[in-house]
Amino acid sequence: MTRVVVAMSGGVDSSVAAALLKRQGYEVIGIMLRLWSEPGKEDSNRCCAPDAMMLARRVAARLDIPFYVVDAGEVFRATVVQEFLDGYARGETPNPCLVCNRQIRWGFLWQHALAFGADYLATGHYARRGEANGKAVLLKARDQTKDQSYVLHVLSQEQLQRTLFPVGEYLKSEVRQMAAEWGLPSALRRDSQDLCFLAGEDYRVFLRRYAADIFRPGVVMRRDGQVIGTHSGLPAYTIGQRKGLGVATMTPLYVLAKDAAANALIVGTAEELGQRKAWARAVNWVRGEAPSQPLRVEVKIRYTARPVWAEVTPLDDGSRVRIDFDTPVRDATPGQAAVFYAGEMVLGGGIIEATGNNLPTIHPCHCEPP
């Protein structure tokens, strides 16, 4: 019998994933990771609160599958939380879900699944796995409004071959319906929104508590170096932000970039906001190998962004890329992922490290970064 470990959270998606696998005849084991919570805030951490754990346990009992909680608190803190803090310290806007998928789900949990003798790891993600030319391919979910393929671009070919996304073939409404029909206790649970370890708090409050030193007041300046104000610390701002800049001007100004080295917030007009180029590091190619030629692909620069056409040129051995957008994009943000799509298929992606265009700027990103 094929053994599958399902990552369970108490939520409706992973619950239905487990139920589907059980119905498909797999031998299913549910594992829930106890992730990191701030001391004293365990109850408000959505993913690991006692009630979420109790829900997952009840779902497992209903499905008659073994269920284990594994402590991942320390490794989560040392990777996901630390990189979140480090990212902001670098002037980036990090995406912790990517780190979590790479280090925790398909890292720590993956190792545990193998130790439990699993042939596959399954999650409740909305994405699909297909096959082409003997390789596993990562595809968008059938429910385009719930598609999570963006945060799954970090999977290696080997991992994808042994990963299942049972709910990716269904619409969210169908998943909820199945959960209700099968009497799964998590059927009515609302979806998670925020980062689990923020416990519903604004990320800036969290950052101030854990890395107060990265909030250093500095100058707000135009691209030409003209200082027009001061800011309270770079992590409080995000690319494309208009409100709360604390400067009064005739034309609305937007955050164009954050210059971490100079601790300067670079602002400009809407016209300046567009970026024609971006560079990405830590690129993963789902196929397992980098392309030798530049690719015409659609690129998503944020989880919720619409894909835009671009040419992606592999640099170095393919672990970095340059992205030339057909039309300038307004919110390409260092720290977020750029993910490359060929239609439904995820080819790969990486972390945006710099953006630029052909306008004169003091920001050092209009040439290829070293």
Partner: protein, 387 residues
């Protein structure tokens, strides 16, 4: 699935179930009722009390039926301390190795009732030695509570040496014998205890029933007040079928004690020998000889006992760990820390407890998978702490 967790609980013996059955629907009366229905139920409870008293070698009126071992321990500690404090003695002596039913109750009394608690020293095997008790007894001592056999590491305490020592000093002595009663002689005269707690489900009886022996003349303030059952010391309508089942299970445990020991002890010795021989960085926890005959417990350095138990479960074997928790946040066991194990060892504890249903084949199958699972648990532990 192979069950190797008989110290957690045991299945109800068919013979026990048989004597319980009539008391659910057929002989259903309330023992406190004056009519014949009540009289028949009362007769069953009093017969059960005589049976228990027979096993303990005490008077029937020295037995109080409770809803389990935890309640019996609670009643002993709370009841004696509240009674003794009226005479100005407010010190309770017990150990960190005690079952939580005792240690948490002691902490509770300290926090809310003005009881002073002395935590007795234990040796590397988790044993309380007579000199530990003798050295700690002061004028204000009211009660000493030391378990007969430890649930986590199986160590048997020298109760027959500890209890008389306390009696000489006019200090009351309670022993939690919940784990012990399945295999050891619980003759309260030989042991010399003033109070002794028992539970049904560790000896093939039902869950949710137990008893407290309270020596005649011992002051005891009730915890549950109400209808005056159990001579006013434990109110609440008697759980007739469970009391009947508990008494039968205890009787069988005494009657078949030698056969039961002869069945589990060689298997236990075999498990201990093979584990220590085949698994590197493994140690037996608890006393090598003075331990329960069905109880093997180990510590494996740099392994997470909680995870090991999960891996064993997925492989088809039910065991437990001192650091076992279902919420994924394992803490090294307090019992093992009190015995002097470092956290690196104490976190990796495994308890293998055998029972009447254990066969040599089951033990062989278990020993065939354990070394590789310990190895996996260690590898994952390294993974977890690598950062």
């Amino acid at each position: 699935m192979i069950y190797l967790d008989y110290a957690a609980t045991t299945p109800v013996d068919e013979r026990v179930l048989r004597v319980m059955r009539p008391f659910f629907s057929e002989i259903f009366g309330n023992p406190s009722s004056a009519h014949r229905f009540g009289q028949r139920a009362e007769a069953a409870v009093e017969t059960a009390r005589e049976t228990v008293a027979g096993v303990l070698n005490c008077r029937p009126d020295e037995i109080i039926f409770t809803a389990g071992g935890t309640e019996a321990d609670n009643l002993a500690l709370r009841g004696v301390m509240l009674a003794e404090m009226e005479s100005g003695r407010n010190r309770l002596l017990t150990a960190r190795t005690e079952h939580a039913a005792v240690s948490k109750t002691a902490e509770h009394l300290e926090k809310y009732a003005g009881v002073q608690v002395t935590w007795l020293t234990v040796d590397e095997f988790g044993q309380v030695r007579p000199e530990h008790v003798a050295g700690a007894l002061r004028e204000d001592a009211a009660l000493v509570s030391v378990m007969f056999a430890n649930n986590e590491v199986g160590t048997v305490n020298p109760i027959a040496a500890l209890a008389p020592l306390c009696r000489e000093r006019r200090v009351l002595f309670h022993s939690d014998a919940v784990q012990a009663a399945g295999y050891l002689d619980v003759d309260v005269q030989k042991l010399g205890v003033d109070l002794l707690a028992l539970g049904g489900h560790k000896l093939y009886g039902p869950k949710g029933v137990g008893a407290l022996f309270v020596r005649h003349g011992t002051g005891l303030v009730p915890s549950l007040t109400g209808g005056g059952q159990e001579t006013g010391r434990r109110a609440g309508t008697h759980n007739v079928p469970y009391i009947v089942g508990f008494a039968e299970a205890l009787r069988l445990a005494k009657e078949e004690r030698q056969e039961r020991i002869a069945h589990v002890q060689p298997l236990r010795d075999y498990v201990i020998a093979r584990v220590l021989q085949e698994i590197p960085e493994a140690r037996l926890s608890g006393h090598p000889e003075q331990r329960l005959p069905n109880h093997a417990s180990f510590v494996f350095r740099d392994a997470d006992g909680n995870l090991l138990v999960q891996l064993l479960d997925a492989a088809g074997f039910a065991c437990s760990s001192g650091s076992a928790c279902k919420t994924g946040r394992p803490e090294p066991s307090e019992v093992l820390l009190a015995m002097g194990f470092t956290p690196a060892w104490a976190r990796g504890s495994l308890r293998v407890t055998l029972g009447l249903g254990t066969t040599p084949e089951q033990v062989e199958a278990f020993l065939a998978v354990l070394p590789s699972l310990v190895e996996r648990a260690r590898r994952l532990h390294k993974e977890k702490t690598r950062s």
